[in-house]
Subunit: 258 residues, 2 copies
């Protein structure tokens, strides 16, 4: 079993060498695709994908394309969410957003290309299951962003499920489907993914002082986070697999909720 | 063998019943996805997919999800191309463009969702091959749009190959891969797809008086179109299959080039 840092390093090496590539005639588009991907982040989704894979008996190396696909979908969503018509964020992780760096048209196209390339990656498996996992999660994530930008009257935790948890679900779902984990066992894993993803979003809100913190206050947001951490632990305890590394990821996240 | 009109009717019936669907919480997004799809068009890509499928021995009904996936990718590209940051077109097929009807943010998200749903459709096949076909073609199409909006110095026929022909290639490629047509035979089909797609774009330019017409003049554009029609016929003659219906589609298109 590899520790989270080893899995992260494995993933970063893979990602750095992965050709992000639309067509040879348009190297400029490839640059615009690479820019937000290289901007980094904690790579929590791909690391979770690899850790769950190892827990259920899939070699991390075998899961790298699926893990990268999930990360590309996440990156695509950031690029489009930052656009002037959506959240209008000029910076991302301390650097100019893609649309500030490359212009709005190229940012839209680079986001589109990252999404298409994610599915090219899942299609590198013989089974169509990883593509199914990722496509459904992507649709629900986009639905969450729709609810957010249209300021729909929707429960914040439902919004978190759509905007964050579903992609964590896909990260885990890709690993489960490639390991052929039986459906009953998958239920516990998916409960875990759901709680883990919601916990992630609450930690993010606590860090940024928005979302749940604005809606319920900081202490209530911490309480919600503790509740999700508890649910995630409970779901993980029902899983029949070697979950030590996955549990480490969970506890690292839970600690950030204070 | 079904005639083009029968295939088109079969496809329209399927498409009308196909749930375009992100998440139950966001029916408004589903409406914004349906709007540009329902706006119609000649459905030439899906009809070609079904016709080639029948030529190589796949039931048209079996190909409907792949045909719809190609149409959704085409529709996604129209929605994003019409955006103010790209071509800034306020109307499409005589109706308000998606961003005029729903606002820019929702149009961006609806386009994203159509693209994701296209891959959910290709993932309904056990084989990952249709997803591979569609993802690569989509990336090249986006690359073509990038070259167009950045006004790159690129040969117009290369641009046509990227912006139009590659998606026709995917329409045909999905049919070939699901029929397990052998690679040598696929070469002729793909040559046909390439010429057919370029012919389509030249006919489109002749109709709109832009693109090749602006660059080379109308008569030269017609000449180019005749050249592509000739190449398409030649490629089709090398195919070992019952190509009568596909040939009808080609001749209908060639006739429009005058």
């Amino acid at each position: 079993m590899q520790a989270p840092d080893e899995l992260r390093e494995l993933f970063e090496e893979y990602l750095a060498r992965l050709p992000l590539h639309a067509t040879p005639e348009a190297p400029g588009l490839d640059d615009a695709m690479r820019y937000p991907v290289a901007a980094g982040g904690k790579r929590l989704r791909p690391v979770l994908c690899l850790a769950v894979g190892e827990a259920v008996g899939v070699e991390p190396r075998e899961l790298l394309p699926a893990a990268a696909a999930v990360e590309l979908v996440h990156t695509f969503s950031l690029v489009h969410d930052d656009l002037p018509a959506l959240d209008d964020d000029a910076t991302r992780r301390g650097s100019p957003s893609a649309h500030v760096r490359f212009g709005e048209a190229v940012a839209i196209l680079a986001g589109d290309a990252l999404l298409a390339q994610a599915f090219e990656l899942t299609a590198s498996y013989e089974s169509a299951a990883p593509t199914r996992e990722l496509a459904r999660a992507t649709l629900e994530m986009i639905g969450g962003q729709y609810l957010d930008v249209t300021r729909a009257d929707v429960d914040l935790l439902d919004l978190h499920r759509l905007k964050s948890a579903r992609l964590y679900g896909a990260a885990i779902g890709c690993a489960l489907s490639l390991a052929d984990v039986d459906p009953a066992e998958q239920v516990s894993w998916r409960d875990f993914a759901d709680a883990f993803g919601r916990l992630f979003q609450l930690v993010d809100d606590l860090h940024d002082g928005d979302g749940a913190v604005l809606e319920h206050g900081e202490e209530a947001a911490r309480e919600l986070a503790r509740g999700q951490a508890h649910q995630a632990r409970e779901a993980l305890s029902r899983v029949h697999a070697e979950t030590a590394v996955v549990a480490t990821l969970l506890e690292d996240l839970a600690r950030q909720a204070g």
